[in-house]
Symmetry: C2
Subunit: 456 residues, 2 copies
């Protein structure tokens, strides 16, 4: 495998680096000037992948942290953080917006780069952490101290591979591997190939503990990577079983037959007519619940969307529908959707409904009283035959009524939308009634051919 | 609750007892005469519910055991046991047949009574046991020694209640409570009402340990009742979760509203036209696999039938059919059937098929090679979309072919029948094509209204 040819494409050139460094230095200088002028007790430092030299060409997200001493109040940290950030970007004639991690921060856009200016506490040890972003300081220090020049290249290969098979990124939309996690994997296994070889043999609850803290047993996540700077934190806590499994599968596929194509995204269907054709040849029926997403950060919407999606799927299954697949997507601004693919939109009039277990006397009583037909026992469960709503659209509309919504576990910021303003329609009707962004078309393409990412 | 009025109906009168005692004594005398004449080292003793005085009026099954010393060979025990039994029943002009528990024995029919003549080893302790029937000796001793006159009445109430709600009998056809188990429950809780009160609060894996052996933890059965004469045996091992749960439910119902009707069986539909009507008003479809049962004891057929039934149900579910209920029945001579109630006999052409988990690299490889379409991952599982056989009859016929039968877990004595001679048809066709015994009609009635037993 000619990894050098890949590195030539993905590794920033000396010129790329200089450009980013010059901009970073300029911003930091500007920030520290403002800090001095305003007589604030803080310091701007460069952190993240730029500082660690582990950024992919074309993906230079500049992370600058404003470190405050530990005795600064949360309130001051927020206030000064935003103030300094805004002023700096304004002075440099950039565009500006406020974002939110554990507290609000400023993102600026200058010369095609995006720059996060995040206030944090200046901690020396994981125990001192006051807000989740504080650790970034220690993470950057740890990686810079421990990674070799050769290993930074290996990190780039791993990040690019992850990105191509779509397991990269710890944001909740993805639920994949964070950049820091990729770096730790290289520190653990040394090379890109060794990471893939190890991953292909991972078991559920595999523990990676670089500093031998021995604290892995307290976690129940699919992958456990003890944070070298905080022995009670699992760096892989936000990695979903799904993305861990997908990375393992792609690793096996790559090892079996290494191809350059694993460092490029697979092609997706982004033509509306192709998407319609694919839905047409499916022997199933897909319905779309759509609504305007609430104004909350994307990282908060996605867990709520998926919770709602899972709960709806589970309720529909209980009601007798055969669910093939569900998924959800949002652009965080105008449109949020939940897709439900079912064998048939109508189901037969009766089904067995599983009630409480025999051990639970109180629930038994309520269950028997509720159903005015004779229930029976199968194993330890009470069962009863009930008639069901016939049509999936009707059933969902019913569930979204105020008197029924409690049957679902609905994301709290989504509930209002589902009660008041949503649409439900068959996918082809949805496709012809909506403006479809490239991102949404790609999402639909993945929905239609879900395993495509894993193979080349 | 007027328990005396129930006892008047179910407790043998002095005259009933004398009749049974006279017959038992006559048989034992005859057996011991034969033993003496033949110069065999054995002794006939009365055991079981007659000896313990815990038999229900009209249910006098006379259990006579021929006890042999521990140094007798298995072969001699069998040979002499059958010889003595046959000779005795012949001498008394009764009818005779051979049956099989842990070894063959003789059952005689004299004057409307059935008499089991079972050879066993004369053991003094649970550790000495050589064959499963040997314990009966110790069980009878233990109960006779520990039970009070008042408690034998309580046993009768409990047995009658159990019989009426159809949880009585440890034979595999029922999987319910053995007579000895009922006696131990009364020894534990003292009265019928106290047993029901306790049972209504039982948890899964409740342990009852009359002699405080402390050996309960080794068992994983739903109910654990340590045998007072053998600390490593669970008397309730053959009690199914189903029958334990049914007894608990009926106990709760009785406590809530005690009725004399709980001491009588519920009425069942035994008219063919009613059975047909009930199947007609069901919105589901029921199919019957029928065949001639193998010539093996009923206690062996039922577990094999149920294993086959469970495996078939699980396979059909995987193939996408919605199964409402399955059940099986046999008369052990001419007919064995497996019933399958499905939402619809035809299903849509595609379904998600769940493959191996991601942790299993070898199975992953085989799975991916086998399906020439792109599989995908959900959580830790591989999935693939496959086309399915449309029709339940066709699918079952396919499964019963020599090249496919390995997909099922089929009872070993049933396999031949399913490969060579069976029928599969819709229930109404089956009903019009077969002679239906009362027992089968009652079974069908239970199938149609499964929880009826538990309520009065």
């Amino acid at each position: 495998m000619d990894f050098d040819s890949i590195l030539r494409k993905i590794k920033p050139t000396q010129k790329d680096k200089e450009k980013v460094e010059n901009l970073s230095n300029k911003i930091i200088k500007q920030l520290n000037t403002i800090i001095k002028d305003e007589k604030i007790d803080s310091e701007a430092v460069l952190l993240g992948s730029i500082a660690k030299d582990t950024w992919l060409k074309g993906k230079a997200d500049i992370d600058i942290f404003l470190t405050f001493s530990l005795n600064t109040s949360q309130e001051d940290l927020k206030k000064y953080g935003l103030k300094i950030g805004h002023k700096c970007i304004d002075n440099l004639k950039g565009k500006c917006e406020e974002r939110y991690a554990s507290h609000p921060y400023v993102t600026g856009f200058i010369g095609g780069y995006s720059i996060d200016i995040v206030p944090c506490y200046k901690i020396n040890d994981g125990d001192q952490i006051k807000s989740a972003v504080d650790r970034t300081l220690l993470h950057t220090k740890y990686i810079k101290k421990n990674i070799s020049k050769k290993q930074t290249d290996e990190v780039l290969l791993l990040k690019k591979f992850m990105e191509s098979i779509e397991t990269y990124g710890s944001e909740s939309k993805v639920g994949g591997f964070a950049g820091y996690l990729c770096e730790l994997l290289i520190l653990k296994y040394d090379t890109f190939c060794a990471v893939l070889k190890a991953a292909s043999k991972w078991k559920k609850h595999t523990i990676i503990d670089l500093e031998n803290y021995g604290t892995g047993k307290q976690f129940n996540d699919p992958l456990i990577v003890i944070d070298p700077v905080d022995k009670n934190r699992n760096v892989a806590a936000s990695l979903s079983l799904q993305k861990m499994a997908e990375f393992m599968a792609a690793s096996r596929n790559f090892i079996k037959e290494p191809k350059l194509e694993y460092f490029e995204k697979t092609e997706k269907f982004t033509e509306l007519k192709d998407i319609i054709t694919l839905f047409n040849i499916k022997s199933t029926e897909t319905y779309v619940v759509s609504f305007k997403p609430p104004k909350i950060p994307e990282d908060t919407i996605y867990p709520q969307l998926r919770k709602t999606e899972r709960s709806l799927a589970s309720k529909l299954t209980k009601e007798g529908f055969i669910i093939f697949k569900t998924s959800s997507w949002t652009d965080s601004e105008n449109l949020a959707i939940i897709l439900i693919e079912v064998a048939s939109k109508n189901i037969s009039g009766y089904k067995n409904y599983t009630g409480p277990r025999i051990w639970d006397e109180n629930h038994q009583e309520k269950f028997i009283l509720k159903h005015n037909t004779i229930p029976w026992i199968e194993g330890e469960y009470w069962l009863v035959k009930v008639s069901t709503t016939d049509n999936i659209e009707e059933l969902i509309k019913n569930l979204f009524k105020p008197e029924n919504i409690h049957y679902l576990k609905v994301g709290k910021n989504i509930k209002n939308q589902l009660l008041n303003e949503y649409s439900i329609m068959e996918i082809k009707e949805f496709l012809s009634n909506n403006q479809l962004s490239i991102d949404l078309l790609e999402f639909l393409s993945d929905f239609l051919i879900p395993g495509k990412n894993l193979f080349r």
